[in-house]
């Protein structure tokens, strides 16, 4: 393979790798995105309500993440420690769009027995971002 082909190949590989890697984002960006999809203003109050109450099943979001998720949570089955959800207390939260979608998909299924709507996701993020030290 000559030099030109090699560097083109390298560039292509890096691009693919970057695309496949974390979809870097911020809480504000995700909030805006979900809010736009929902076509309504996000509500932190609604978000807190959704997060802390049970929806006909055994667990609420708070069951593992805590009623005010600014500290360590604890998995309800395994006891494993879970880092804080509020982005002001954990800079990793809501920084990877794919990861956020994955966890909303799984955990809403567990808690609400369905997918959360874009509006609900916006509300939850809106509330979590109000939690400051």
């Amino acid at each position: 393979m000559n030099h030109l082909t090699l560097s083109r190949f390298a560039l292509a590989t890096i691009s693919v790798a970057s695309a496949a890697a974390a979809h870097a984002t911020t809480p504000a960006e995700l909030l805006a995105g979900y809010g736009a999809q929902a076509g309504q203003a996000a509500s932190a109050a609604r978000g807190q309500q959704l997060f802390t109450t049970r929806h006909g099943r055994e667990w609420s979001c708070s069951t593992c993440h805590g009623a005010t998720p600014t500290g360590m949570g604890k998995h309800a089955s395994t006891g494993k420690q879970i880092a804080p959800m509020a982005p002001a207390f954990n800079a990793e939260r809501f920084s990877d769009a794919a990861k956020v979608e994955k966890w909303f998909r799984r955990n809403c299924n567990d808690v609400v027995a369905r997918e959360c709507s874009a509006g609900e996701k916006a509300d939850v993020i809106a509330w979590l971002t109000t939690l400051r030290p």
Partner: protein, 162 residues
């Protein structure tokens, strides 16, 4: 060499062989205490969020396959993953699954903690200890095994909480 020196050497050699033999037997007993299989990065990332990253050798391939094919119904929760990741992790688990006589047993519900070897290994743990709030579940290895996150289950690194 004189006759008596020769006897001395024979005795010494026999003692050495015996000592090494005993040591080997001890190692064989602790065969899952040997150097842990390095964990696939994706396995660690995707399968250690809710519980410790279980060493792949603790379950037979058939158990891993069933677990990976039923992630949306993973011991009571939705642990679903994108198909590409499922394929990669399943492959790795299949290759690194337990093949020792003890690990080949398929435990009930594919639960590590219901394997005969697990139960035997933990038979000194009292019922009261299992009920401690700090433990929560037999699957919470890290509650007592201080090196569980690094795949270290050595007896020397156990600390039972109160």
């Amino acid at each position: 060499m004189t006759h008596s020196n020769h006897d001395l050497w024979r005795t010494a050699c026999a003692a050495l062989v015996l000592a090494v033999g005993c040591a080997s037997a001890a190692w064989a007993e602790d065969d899952h205490h040997k150097q842990a299989v390095p964990l696939l990065a994706q396995y660690k990332q995707e399968c250690a969020a809710c519980h410790v990253a279980f060493p792949p050798g603790l379950l037979p391939a058939a158990s891993w396959q069933r677990l990976m094919n039923n992630l949306p119904r993973h011991f009571g929760t939705d642990a679903s993953l994108d198909p590409a990741t499922v394929k990669t992790v399943s492959s790795w688990l299949g290759v690194n699954a337990g093949t020792s006589k003890r690990a080949r047993e398929v435990p009930p519900e594919d639960r590590i903690t219901r394997s005969a070897w697990f139960i035997r290994k933990h038979d000194e743990v009292s019922a009261a200890t299992w009920r401690l709030p700090a433990l929560k579940s037999a699957a919470n290895c890290a509650a007592c095994h201080t090196g569980a996150d690094q795949g270290d289950f050595n007896e020397r690194n156990i600390r039972i909480p109160r």
